[in-house]
């Protein structure tokens, strides 16, 4: 096993790698399931034809939202409240995929603490990243706040 040769990898890195890999894969799978439901007649949050015509005629995201969903762009995790729609499920998959690094960085931070990995200032780097990513995922780092 190549993993067993040479220096042992740091636990923080291994935790990060495992977390992001599996969570991203689950997210992608949910995204694909959402799209499969979409094509097999599941309920749509966005009108598909309007989205396509909007995209291919260069309309902005705001206009496409208004025309295809019949409302202003829903900032934040809009799909969590619309999970009966197939495209919202696909969007949930995208969201989970984007969340994987957030979980991964916090997992790495925990790994550093558990193994008391030195130098200790890397704990601070991981903490800064963890806070930044969680704020971004919560929508706090956004022009709408």
């Amino acid at each position: 096993m190549p993993e067993e040769k040479g220096p042992k990898p740091l636990l923080s890195g291994v935790i990060y790698g495992e977390c992001v890999y599996w969570i991203a894969l689950i997210g992608m799978l949910i995204g694909i399931i959402g799209m499969v439901l979409y094509f097999f007649g599941g309920k749509h949050f966005f009108d598909a034809e309007t989205v396509i015509s909007g995209l291919l005629s260069g309309k902005s995201a705001t206009v496409i939202w208004q025309e295809a969903a019949g409302r202003e762009s829903l900032h934040g995790h809009w799909y969590l409240h619309q999970l009966s729609y197939s495209d919202a499920i696909a969007m949930l998959g995208i969201g989970i995929c984007c969340l994987s690094a957030v979980v991964g960085v916090w997992g790495a931070f925990l790994g550093m603490v558990i193994k008391k990995e030195r130098p200790y200032f890397y704990w601070i780097f991981a903490l800064i990243l963890g806070i930044l990513l969680i704020l971004a995922a919560m929508g706090k780092i956004s022009l709408h706040h």
Binding site: E3, P7, P9, V20, Y21, A24, G31, G58, W65, A137
Partner: protein, 328 residues
């Protein structure tokens, strides 16, 4: 002889495929009239973008670049889709590809975790600022902002292409003669098992302070333009901080996953993600990357590298032309 003929035929097939793709994209751009779906059903739309991004993924890997850096300029240069939506999708797929690829590099200890966390802080912060700036430009500058983004990206893409042509040199195992005190304090020196040599490579790093500053710039560009940033990160790790090439390449891949996650959320919160566009592009680019990695073992990819350079120059020129046309 037979092998050479097969290779020659293969090159022409590839070349024709790219040519058809570029021409189709250009025609589609010209023909797309406002309010017209070009007779595309959702399934056709899905398949077209799935195939197009699969091809992009294959060629990107063969050319030695990430899919994210090819996706955004080509889509912005050759399709009429709004740049904010393309950048949202571009940064998402760059991130998704990097997340899936990270696991083996970290399990084998090739990617240096300390280097990652050190570099990811300035990169992620500036990528976030870039993403917020993108939202601000979209909200306040209208068509002028769109023209500015396309023009600036055109210049950057031409810069990347020239980087590939003139400064493509990489050093497999850079010689670190002196480690400065700042880098020494960061304790970035590590080792990894090099399978091809059958031994442990212990390496040191240098100039971490310069690397940190450069990561700010790379993060800003990545966040603002929705680009993957491996093209800039690998030289920073390898030529500035003197990391071995393998460490540089793996660290760059893993760091894109962390930094672009920070940048993708402001884009998603801004309403720039549409699953009908995002999902096929994500699947296509990842599948393309996997196929490309397998093809890479069988062929010499020098020709593909030049093809990608030509396509990127074409995309850069088109972006500049679009910017000039759009400028009010």
């Amino acid at each position: 002889m037979g092998k050479h003929r097969r290779l020659f035929r293969w090159k022409w097939i590839v070349f024709l495929f790219i040519l058809i793709l570029v021409i189709t994209a250009s025609i589609a751009t010209v023909q797309a009239a406002p309010g017209e779906a070009m007779g595309m059903s959702p399934l056709t739309f899905f398949i077209v973008f799935l195939l197009a991004t699969t091809v992009m993924g294959i060629f990107a890997v063969l050319a030695g670049v990430g899919g994210g850096v090819v996706f955004t300029p080509i889509m912005m240069g050759f399709t009429p889709i709004d740049s904010y939506i393309i950048r949202t999708t571009g940064i998402f797929i760059a991130m998704a590809g990097a997340l899936v690829a990270a696991r083996p590099f970290l399990r084998r200890g090739i990617a240096n975790v300390r280097l990652l966390f050190y570099g990811a802080v300035p990169y992620a912060v500036c990528a976030c600022i870039g993403a917020l700036l993108a939202g601000y430009i979209k909200a306040t500058m209208g068509i002028k902002g769109e023209a500015f983004v396309r023009g600036a990206l055109g210049v950057i893409v031409l810069g990347i292409a020239s980087l590939f042509i003139f400064f493509g040199k990489r050093v497999e195992y850079p010689d670190v003669k002196e480690v400065d005190s700042f880098t020494e304090r960061l304790a970035l020196a590590m080792g990894y098992w090099e399978e091809s040599l059958g031994k442990v490579i212990n390496y040191k790093l240098a100039r971490a302070h310069i690397g940190g500053i450069l990561f700010c710039g790379v993060g800003l560009i990545s966040g603002l333009f929705g680009l993957g940033a491996g093209w800039a990160m690998v030289p920073v790790f390898n030529l500035v901080m003197l990391a071995p090439l393998k460490v540089a390449a793996t660290c760059s891949k893993v760091m894109i996953g962390i930094g672009d996650t920070a940048a993708v959320w402001p884009y998603i919160m801004g309403g720039g993600m549409f699953p009908l566009f995002g999902v096929p592009c994500m699947i296509g680019l990842i599948v393309g990357t996997l196929i490309g990695a397998r093809i890479m073992l069988m062929i010499k990819a020098g020709f593909i590298r030049w093809l990608i350079i030509i396509v990127m120059i074409g995309a850069g020129v088109r972006l500049l032309m679009k910017a000039i046309q759009m400028w009010p």
